[in-house]
Structures are given as C-alpha cells and as structure tokens.
Subunit: 122 residues, 2 copies
DNA sequence: GTTTGACTTAGAGTGCACTCAAACGTCTAC
DNA sequence: GTAGACGTTTGAGTGCACTCTAAGTCAAAC
C-alpha cells in the first residue's frame, strides 16, 4: 500500500494531479480509517496506463470515458476497444506529422550549418 | 496578395488565430491603404513553417523567440539553429513515447479481441 | 442608396489540465 | 506536549492557445 506522495513519486504524477484525477473519476483509491488514500499495485498499474495515454495526448475527458466503461463491466468491452483503436490511429497520425517535421528540420538545420561555414571562410 | 480569409484557408489557420499571431509578433502582414492585411508568398511560406512547429507542439512563446531572432538578423543564426536542434530532439523523444504507447495499445487491443472471441464461443 | 459581407479594433471569454491556497486533522519524534 | 511532516478538504487561480464579441469602417452588388 502506498500513500499519495509515494505513488506520486512512483508514477511521476503530482499528488495534486492525482487528487484531480480522483475527482474526475479516473482513479479510486481505498481510504483507511483516517480517510487517507491508499494505493495498491492495481492502482499503480492503472496509473501507469493512464500516464501513457496522457503522454500521447489522449484528453482527460476520453480517459474518464474509458474508465467509466471499464467500471461498467464486461459488456462495454467493444466500446473500450473502439476507444483504444481510435487513439492508436491518432498516435500513428501524430507520428507521421512528427516524422515530416523532423525531415523539414533536418533540411533547415543543414542549410543553417552550410551558411555558417561560408561565413567562417570570409 | 491574399486577404486574411484567403491565407487562413490556404494554411488552414483561422483568421482569429492569424490576428493573434500578429499581436504576438509571429507574423507581420503588409497593410493596404484601407488598413487591411495583405499576405504574400513569403508570408505563406512562413506560416506553413510556423504551422509545422505548432503541430509538433512547439510553444507559441518559442516561435515568438525564433521570429524575434530571425528579425534581428544574420548574427542570431547560431541561436536560431540551437532552437531548431532542441525542437528536433523534442520531436524525436516524442516519437519514442508514441511508438512505445503504440506497442502497448497493440498488445492491449489484441487481448481485447481474444477475449471477445472466447465470449463468442460460449 | 442601402444592404451585404469582409474587414478593422480592443478586450473579454473559453476550455483544458493542472496547480495552489487556506484552514484544518493526525501521527511520530524529541 | 508540541513541532513538524504529511495528510485532508473546498474552492480559487494559473497558463496556454486560442476564440469570440461588440462596435465600427468600407467597397462592391443589387
């Protein structure tokens, strides 16, 4: 069992943000008799998954939706699958955009470097 | 020469956003005698470049900085080069993250699909 | 000649995702 | 027994990047 600051460090998400995620229904830690949040291995795994989704720009609203479906049970598997497939497509499009800009920058950077060599020769 | 709405359509950036970029110093269209913004081919190229930077999450503040350096002249070439190289590194890190999450999703999606085949067999 | 539509401005509003503040509770160490 | 570390809550604040509103100007179309 981890306290909020322990899990915050483990998943590298601030305690502030974890409380915000709880308010949004994305995570639901157990409370001990002092009302203090306790996170277990399941919570850890879930947060690592959530983090990957956020790092790849899935909106919090969609993560909420995924969580809601998950909690609703087995019969929402299809809907969850669709969400994940859509996000995978988004990721692949994003990779395309990044690769194209990477190439553009490579060209631009080499132009800059040539320019500087020329100015050195003067 | 293009009006704001024409260039907006050409680069697919809203006229609102273009005015905002102008206020931020990222673009500086010519004005005709009615005070109406006129964009030429140079502006078009610049905006296409800016768009690629924004699409790959370069903050507006950094694009401002790049623009400022560009307008300052030749002697800032080094600083501009550094900005572009930093952004390229950012892009490459981002690609890594996206690829890792893509793989994770591929695994998760196939688990979902297996699960659904099993439930079909019942 | 008036209506339509595109343009202008300054400044306010929006949505997202945090991020922080303030006031308070509770456990542990000295 | 009190200081300090860490926890709690509600609700407000922040930063970013737009996005829109309101009030006005101006030229061409009917």
């Amino acid at each position: 069992m981890y306290s909020i600051s322990e899990i915050a460090e483990k998943v590298d998400i601030s305690a502030h943000t974890l409380r915000y995620y709880e308010k949004e229904g994305i995570i639901d830690p157990i409370r001990n008799d002092q009302g203090i949040r306790q996170f277990d291995e399941q919570h850890l795994k879930w947060l690592q998954f959530v983090k990957k989704l956020r790092e790849t720009q899935m909106p919090v609203s969609q993560i909420k939706e995924y969580t809601r479906l998950f909690l609703e049970g087995e019969h929402t598997a299809n809907a969850r699958l669709r969400l994940l497939e859509d996000h995978q497509q988004f990721i692949r499009d994003q990779i395309e955009t990044l690769l194209a800009t990477d190439e553009m920058l490579t060209r631009k950077i080499s132009t800059y470097k040539e320019l500087m060599e020329k100015s050195l020769m003067k």
